[in-house]
Symmetry: C2
Subunit: 493 residues, 2 copies
Amino acid sequence: MFINPEETTSERMSEPKQEGITAKKGQDFDEWYTQAIIKSEFADYSPVSGCLVYRPSGYAIWEKIRDATDLEFKKAGIQNAYFPLFIPERLLRKEQEHVKGFAPEVAWVTEAGDSKLEERLAVRPTSETIIYEVVRKWIRSWRDLPLRLNLWNNVVRWEFKHPTPFLRGREFLWNEGHTMFATREEADAEREQIMGIYRKITEEFLALPGLMGKKTDSEKFAGALASYSIEHLMPNGKAIQGPDFHSDGQNFAKAFDLAFVDQKGERQLVWQNTWAITTREIGVMIATHGDDKGPVLPPRVAPIQAVIVPIVNEQTRPAVLEVAMKLRDDLSASFSIKVDERDYVTPGRKFNEWELRGVPLRIEVGPRDIAQNQVVLARRDTGAKRPAKIPDIKAEVGKELDDIQRNLLALARERLASNVRSAGTYEELKALISSAGGIVQAPWCGAGACEEKVKQETGAKVINMPLDQNGTPGPCVACGAAGHVIANFAKSY
Amino acid sequence: MFINPEETTSERMSEPKQEGITAKKGQDFDEWYTQAIIKSEFADYSPVSGCLVYRPSGYAIWEKIRDATDLEFKKAGIQNAYFPLFIPERLLRKEQEHVKGFAPEVAWVTEAGDSKLEERLAVRPTSETIIYEVVRKWIRSWRDLPLRLNLWNNVVRWEFKHPTPFLRGREFLWNEGHTMFATREEADAEREQIMGIYRKITEEFLALPGLMGKKTDSEKFAGALASYSIEHLMPNGKAIQGPDFHSDGQNFAKAFDLAFVDQKGERQLVWQNTWAITTREIGVMIATHGDDKGPVLPPRVAPIQAVIVPIVNEQTRPAVLEVAMKLRDDLSASFSIKVDERDYVTPGRKFNEWELRGVPLRIEVGPRDIAQNQVVLARRDTGAKRPAKIPDIKAEVGKELDDIQRNLLALARERLASNVRSAGTYEELKALISSAGGIVQAPWCGAGACEEKVKQETGAKVINMPLDQNGTPGPCVACGAAGHVIANFAKSY
């Protein structure tokens, strides 16, 4: 996977066959997913194992996620910056837990031109260490705080696990927020704001629900006091971590001497958070909403929201195309519209192609429609078709797109809700994980040994722990001691 | 330079002194430039020699350049994509001229985690080779062309020359356009469109004029048939290359077997172009418009277009702040506005700080102004101050900002025009380069030996050759043989 398949020139020179997705999502999810990414032209393999090429329609989705998220960050007063790609090894080693977590996956630059470097440079797996080394000079007094920075960049983690497009790779795109506060209270208060932004983006744009919660100590970010995540559920019953937020406390501040003079004139260390949303969300989104025909894009992140397909023969083509272009011009101020005017492809094949690409709405326009002053709207999510009057087209298209957006989220929520189950005993937990999959909520004593035992014996780990814990949990499913918390157990990517 | 200066904790813990720029632009330009970047907080040094930290106000300028340029690209039908950061060594070596040009500056990843890689990976200095290796599969027929891709990303060129913030560094941000056409004519026609976009961005946004022209063979892009550039003139009399465009012909197509079937069913190689604008423009812009107080930002790229400074004492503060906030609310729909409400900094110091940061317009508001239903507008470019009635504030601010934008471009154009001189003989050329600096237009026979002779003896190279050549040039200034072209000679960054 991710390896550029060899192909002979004569193979390339032949006309491509029209080919849709051959795997069924419900039967062979992994194969379906790969085809849904590659055949729909969201991404392609590259000659570097584990590194993905984002084709225009895949990258356009990322631009939409980035721009929507960035708008929220800016409203919250967070400022974007850019820090170097390279981190000197000595800096990466300054915080012990951090380097332990990341060193096994670091890509190292050791040579430049013909010279060997005196010190290895890490290609950033994340930028904490270089940021803190630099911003130390920017912070002197409590008046310089809070300092809330965000970066949109690329990072490299040389994973040796099986790569999967968007979901797991050696380079990905993300935001990394790095914020510094004078007090723990202010730092903690940021969590709700940032996780609220991530929830808004995942739900309202990507139509992706998730379970928000706190990570266990064994799963938290290397160097953090505590980590929080939104966990999504994939169609194959496995959980996958979405956006996350880390309370770093003063760990990095200690290591990097990030101090300020407080209002009483005393020297204090700052309190820090870090947080991220990544290109992984594109993969989760495609996996969640797609069907056997391919991806189904939520309108708010779709590069093309509606495609106009003229239904014509040679005689009717000029008149119908004129109407199609007029429709596009009317709609383009509000929506992202494409007219498929190719004269060498049949309408039926166009339908298949745009379904394969996940375009939310198809607008069919032919001579008979025009005679009735109407077009036909065909929804990608339900397949439903209905006529719409041309004078009302803007409102009608808007209505359908809103409804598709709502419907995709509602369906995903239903599927998530019906795949979150409760277990009171170890036997129940084991049975649910091995039969139904999904997420199982069960009481846990909080001991790492119990977490590890469940993982070893069932394959399910604690993906996170709900923030709202209602009532007292029963006894720990693993050891029978008093339960501390209801935890979300699941097999996970 | 670019090295993080050591600083003790006690130094950091003291309150910073208010310190403006101490160097005079006209006397010690290099020192002035460095202070204008660092003290104005557009950028900072990093622990990696030659790699810059873009602080929020510097990065915000890049976001504005990127967004304005991207809008033009999208209007032209160009699509964004993302390709991997790493390029396997064997790919980089596929085009001979290309690898010869870039290999001396490549940063190599040779290790990942604890493993030594089997093949070195180049951190992309530019992405031609990996793009062409991948898109070969996307192009089969003439119907797949043109394919016009663009990337916004970071690249690394491990230069061993002296780094200068924004102007020359080992990592920079840019766009790299990569386009493929069925015919040479179509490929060539793109040049005017793209260079037109770059001219629009540099002139209308950055207020930077430049000389457009063709590069000589010795200065063209490694692997291209011909390169074109916009050359700016720095205040120290040296030229600096701005955005560029490369006609790659079929060089890369041959090396990467980038072929398609044409309308007659015959196999053809594609014709290619590549083009770029980089973060260097930020530095040229700051250098060009700044004065002894620091940078002067053109309003269309200024992160803050106008700052409102309340002129208050303890008694008048609440009432004046209320008016200031109301002004901000009224203006914020159209402009980027900040109210400096700090109560621990004097208005005079605020004036200095915002001048140092290059904010184009200051709006002063005090009790006496309010009594007259007015504010005072103070321009950063001219220093001129005038009252403006509060009910007309939106129109008045818009007028001043437009005027500042126009004025900065007009001044820069005047300076450029007055620093482009003509020479008919070698003596004249030498005298002009050594006395006045700037750009000298002189006839050249086109021989590399003459270009090299001038460079060795005067320090000036052919920065480019104007596209419009009026009339027949005189004899070559270097050898006296028939002149082929009027060339732009200059000392250059």
